[in-house]
């Protein structure tokens, strides 16, 4: 998250999504309906990312074990490869796109109107000029 703009935005208390702006303005009634569209637009939240990673590991290890067992029992190496490839594709379909299932605990960013009521406190007189210069560059 180092290069993302959200970090600097959270310091100011304002959400500055890199994605489509109407989602971040608070127009929550304007929301895409289909999960595929949601996956293309939304990101995953932190809990979702952890969940997705866990699912990925479980799916992949299970695919490998199932493929090896099936190949060994049926005496067919090609069957093992096919089952494993199918398992990998299934894992990729489930964990890689940003499904809305992984976004059930989204972070609540501060409203822009709230942020203006509580401006960032000044650190000290000596560094105030440099911090206001920094703010000016961030405000753009």
């Amino acid at each position: 998250m180092a290069g993302r703009s959200e970090f600097s935005a959270s310091a100011r208390g304002v959400s500055n999504c890199s994605t489509q702006s109407y989602l971040c303005r608070g127009d929550s009634h304007v929301f895409p309906s289909s999960p595929v569209l949601k996956a293309r637009i939304n990101e995953m939240d932190w809990q979702g990312q952890k969940h997705a990673e866990m699912l990925m590991q479980i799916f992949l290890v299970f695919s490998a074990v199932a493929a090896f067992g099936a190949g060994y029992l049926m005496h067919d190496f090609r069957l093992m490869m096919l089952i494993y490839a199918g398992g990998v594709v299934l894992t990729a379909l489930v964990t890689v796109p940003n499904w809305p299932y992984f976004n059930r605990h989204p972070l609540k960013w501060l409203d822009p109107s709230e942020a203006e009521k509580h401006p960032k406190p000044q650190v000290s007189n000596i560094t105030s000029s440099s911090s206001s210069k920094k703010k000016a560059s961030k405000n753009k």
Binding site: M1, E43, M44, Q49, A52, E53, M56, Q57, L60, V61, S63, A64, A67, F68, G71, Y72, H75, D76, F77, M80, Y84, V88, T91, A92, T95, V96, P97, N98
Partner: protein, 170 residues
């Protein structure tokens, strides 16, 4: 794990590592396969036994072979290369091995067969030592797996003696 591309990279990496693991496991189980094959070879006749123009002895013969290689095949076997070698001893070399015939078996169903065939490659000596020589026939095989290390083996078969004199003049 933030963007979809990073997750795709992670899936690909873990999938590759697990693929290597299951291939290694399949290859590892091959070590527990103890093959028990039967083979029999018999020299039907010596077609030609002469001395070549450059001075070396040469023998061509007809062999009758029957073998059953099905126990060499596992689920991890791609093909089996089998060849018959003639082994004998001379004054200059303590062991001479000359391949007379070879065959590639790619399916387990075709691993058991009998052939009566002239030798693919003539038995050519380094010198003129073959008259009256006692020659042993040894069957060698190389099992080539789909994943893993090649496995070699051999089995000595019957012996035979070459005639004391050339059958045709060179």
């Amino acid at each position: 794990m933030h963007s979809a591309v990073q997750r795709a990279n992670t899936v690909a990496t873990i999938a590759a590592i697990l693929l290597a693991t299951i291939c290694a496991a399949a290859s590892f189980l091959d070590a527990f396969n103890s093959p028990s094959l039967q083979a029999h070879v018999q020299v039907v006749k010596i077609n030609r036994f002469r001395r070549q123009l450059d001075g070396n002895d040469e023998v061509k013969m007809t062999l009758k072979m029957s073998m059953d290689l099905t126990s060499l095949f596992t689920w991890n076997t791609k093909q089996v290369f089998v060849f018959l070698a003639a082994e004998y001893e001379t004054d200059t070399n303590s062991l001479n091995q000359v391949s007379l015939w070879d065959h590639i078996v790619q399916e387990k169903e075709r691993a058991s067969f009998q052939v009566k065939v002239p030798t693919k490659y003539p038995l050519i000596d380094q010198g003129t030592n073959l008259r009256g020589k006692k020659v042993g026939l040894v069957l060698h095989w190389h099992i080539m797996p789909i994943s893993g290390r090649m496995i070699q083996g051999k089995m000595p078969l019957s012996n035979f003696s070459l005639p004391d004199s050339y059958t045709t003049r060179s």
